[in-house]
Assembly symmetry: C2
Homo-oligomer: 517 residues x 2
């Protein structure tokens, strides 16, 4: 009986401590979805309206309909978010083939270079504790892992969870707890290949919530980088949301993520730290339309993941910060995932590196005052600048979907869509460039003829932005050129502990990676 | 001074009267847009989010993402709304060509038959005063006009406002005030052909608001059928909204209509009758995608106006009735414009005719309790049943966009979209029928193969609904077969008054109308 009373007193003391030591610096949560499309949220017009928590988040915060990922494919997009720099600068591209997509499968030798200054590193120096929950995708070799690049905690995997995995040609992907593996997908961390049942999203939710709770108790500002991947093929979902969506398995996964977002925001309110926590929700690239009914929706936009059409890079985006961001705002600020780098540093009072070009801008005045500044968007594919947006205009210097041979094998980046001279299977260089107005024509269907007054007025302005961009462009060392089966996750740190097992790597045979599109 | 005091006293008395004589029967406002697409509202994912009043209406009411027009083209759709019956029953179709669209241009001889019992007629008998503001489109010959079919007041036009009009081969369309013309488009009622400037939407707003005010003072229940046509090509907008949209002229028109909707709802609140007024917002058919950047958006759906793909018939739809419809609801009830007939009669306590098949159902329990009942949707084109939706499944018995000759002349109903064996230019009869799941595949891209368990389970259920439907189908006398230049609006009633002029009709030469698609 006495012990119970003591316990209650202790709890009160802790609560008082929390309220006294509330950090001055705001907390940050970046929620980065995987292959989720612009059109997957009710608030962005998904017809089944199955994202009540995200829609509420938008109603309480600021919606960004003109927000972009830095690249139409996963690893480069994620590297850019954490470096504030385009893949062409931070090295997340290939020169093996012109204008082809590349990423970090298990055989990739490269990863995030030490020379890059990550958001996590700068926030760590400023007193933040940083945790990544979910997919990393910036390289899986030991030197590239999150705890070597500014994160203090990690629960998740370095690569995608797709297969086939047989532990002979291909090891299962490890799931890390901080610096060591904790098990592997399909072994200790189950995803049922037939049903798609898995508790991973719930685990990621739990990891996020506990981190928030712990940091609140510690009174130390935090950066939670929450990157679940249930909407990346193979889709997965827990029992609770299994077969609950009107949209099939993809919708089940979205519903569970929507639930998890709601739970995280609820946690902030329960802990009374919502007014000191900036939350941003977005996705790493457009919906993977080639996965057909296993893919999400890019709404009215053209094509999807791996292309520089709007469907490949226009992202769902919501900022939430009660008391600082007025509720119910829509901002047509053209934003980028790279702006999260710059914005978070600004909000934390940390200087942005000045020794290198940074492509992100601070969205502080947008968030607080709904200010809009004009800035160009540069759409790269691999090592080539493909398109540029300025204001509501977008120009295509090149057009390219995927090679006709791949398309003929059934890989279609633009299913049900065909626009002559635009959705080309050859890499077409357009001179004069194609020009579209994204307001009148969000689907990039009707190019503005080059002899019109409108074209002749607009194109020189875009050309000027391109010239300026190219003048200062020094490409980084490409990280995604070399592959080697020996570097796969055969024996990650910690493989000798618990139920884990270390596998034997084959002999090293470095070779140029093959990127099909 | 004395007179002023008397005036104040009188006003007080009027107000007391209003509050004593508040009608028991609810007022009705049906706002029917013209060629506005599902994807044109912010709440349905239009990226520029330029419909704050409609989005607010949805937040205060009930949103219907699964709501359909009775037909993919204007006149048949409108005839069905007011009769509660499919065009095949009420005669708004042609047998001149198989499965072709038809409507009521100036040369049409037919119109709404006297044998049809219109919503306006039944509500009038029940004590309602009915006004139509805007486009009628159920026939322009004297016997077909609104005041012959249950409406007590009218301000608007019987036909579309497009040209060319030269008063020699084609008279300008009359604008009626009740039973007589008040002037003509491009003469007394200006639409600037170059800029699109026109005050028509503001006039329609004013007409609607004044009618509401008058009826409130009279204490008589009303039915306002508000059908502006600013989003039908040629688009028009007033100075106030001219060049204010991020979407070009189409967006200007939408912004002005959104404003007008807001003003009407505001009027209801100011008059304190919002709790006794059921308001429904929808559109007559999908966006006219063939008009390219002058057209609206059908969001993620396939094709547009004049087709039976979702883009042709899935409509934006919002129900609003503070105090009766709980705020912020989304209903996945599959609804139809024909349900407005049945629902309004139900809410007014009026019996639905029992001497004929009625295709609408009452949405009362949906509106009040968010109940959902399963019911099929029959998608007709002209005289042919093209497709059927049941639950989330849709089957195509036929596929057809428009003839290849027309397409080759540049008329494209599905710009930027192409789906093999689906967006066909020939009329293809599918046996077995094509089957789609609209939840997983809202774009009708991936048909479910006919040997699958899913297909074999679902198709018999749909077939049963089709058999039932056909068993009771007695097509009405087709109204849209015969054309004659003599019946054009040469000398409408009232043409001999004011500034109007009567034109001389050419000799009568009735002939079969030509319907190109």
């Amino acid at each position: 009986m006495d012990r119970c009373i003591v316990a209650v007193v202790t709890l009160c003391m802790v609560l008082v401590m929390v309220s006294c030591h509330r950090p001055q610096k705001p907390n940050f949560i970046v929620m980065l979805m995987d292959d989720m499309g612009w059109g997957d949220l009710g608030v962005f017009g998904e017809p089944n309206k199955e994202t009540p928590n995200l829609d509420k988040m938008a109603a309480e915060g600021m919606l960004f309909p003109d927000f972009y990922s830095a690249n139409p494919i996963c690893s480069p997009s994620r590297a850019s978010l954490l470096t504030g720099r385009l893949p062409i600068r931070n090295g997340f591209y290939t020169t093996n083939t012109h204008a082809h997509d590349s990423y970090t499968p298990q055989i990739i030798m490269g990863g995030i270079p030490d020379s890059e200054i990550l958001l996590s590193e700068l926030l760590g120096e400023a007193g933040y504790r940083n945790k990544i929950v979910g997919k990393w995708h910036l390289g899986h070799r030991p030197q590239y892992l999150p705890l070597k690049h500014g994160f203090h905690e990690w629960f998740g995997a370095p690569n995608c969870h797709f297969g086939p995995y047989d532990d002979i040609n291909t090891p299962n992907i490890p799931v890390y707890r901080d610096a060591e593996m904790s098990g592997r997908y399909y072994e200790q961390f189950i995803i049922d290949k037939n049903t798609g049942l898995s508790n991973l999203t719930l685990m990621y939710l739990d990891e996020g919530v506990k981190f928030i709770q712990n940091q609140t108790l510690r009174g130390q500002p935090f950066f939670l980088y929450w990157t679940p991947d249930a909407t990346h093929d193979p889709l997965y979902v827990s029992e609770k949301f299994y077969q609950t969506s009107r949209r099939g398995r993809y919708g089940d996964a979205v519903r569970e993520l929507d639930y998890a977002v709601g739970e995280i925001l609820k946690t902030l309110k329960l802990l009374d730290i919502e007014k000191n926590t900036f939350v941003f929700f977005t996705s790493d690239n457009g919906a993977a339309t080639y996965a057909k009914t296993s893919a999400g929706s890019n709404g009215p936009f053209l094509c999807g993941k791996q292309t520089t059409f709007e469907g490949g890079v226009r992202e769902p985006a919501i900022a939430w910060w009660p008391g600082t961001i007025p509720a119910g705002q829509v901002s047509h600020q053209v934003g980028s995932t790279m702006d999260l780098y710059t914005t978070l540093l600004d909000l934390a009072g940390v200087k942005v590196p000045t020794d290198r070009p940074i492509d992100g801008i601070s969205l502080r005045s947008t968030l607080v005052n709904n200010a809009v500044v004009q800035r160009p968007v540069f759409y790269y594919r691999g090592n080539e600048l493909i398109a540029v947006r300025l204001g509501q205009y977008k120009t295509h210097l090149w057009t390219f979907t995927n090679p006709i041979e791949e398309f003929n094998r059934g890989v279609d980046f633009c299913p049900g869509q065909y626009i002559q001279n635009v959705t080309t299977h050859d890499q077409i260089h357009h001179d004069p460039p194609l020009l579209f107005h994204l307001g009148r024509d969000p689907g990039e269907k009707y190019f503005i003829k080059s002899h019109t007054e409108e074209y002749m007025k607009v194109l020189p302005m875009i050309q000027k932005a391109i010239d300026e961009h190219r003048k200062h462009m020094v490409p980084g060392e490409p990280q995604l050129n070399m592959c080697d089966r020996a570097v796969m996750n055969w024996a990650p740190p910690g493989c000798d502990k618990g139920d884990n097992k270390c596998l034997t790597a084959p002999p090293s045979k470095p070779h140029l990676c093959s990127w099909p599109h």
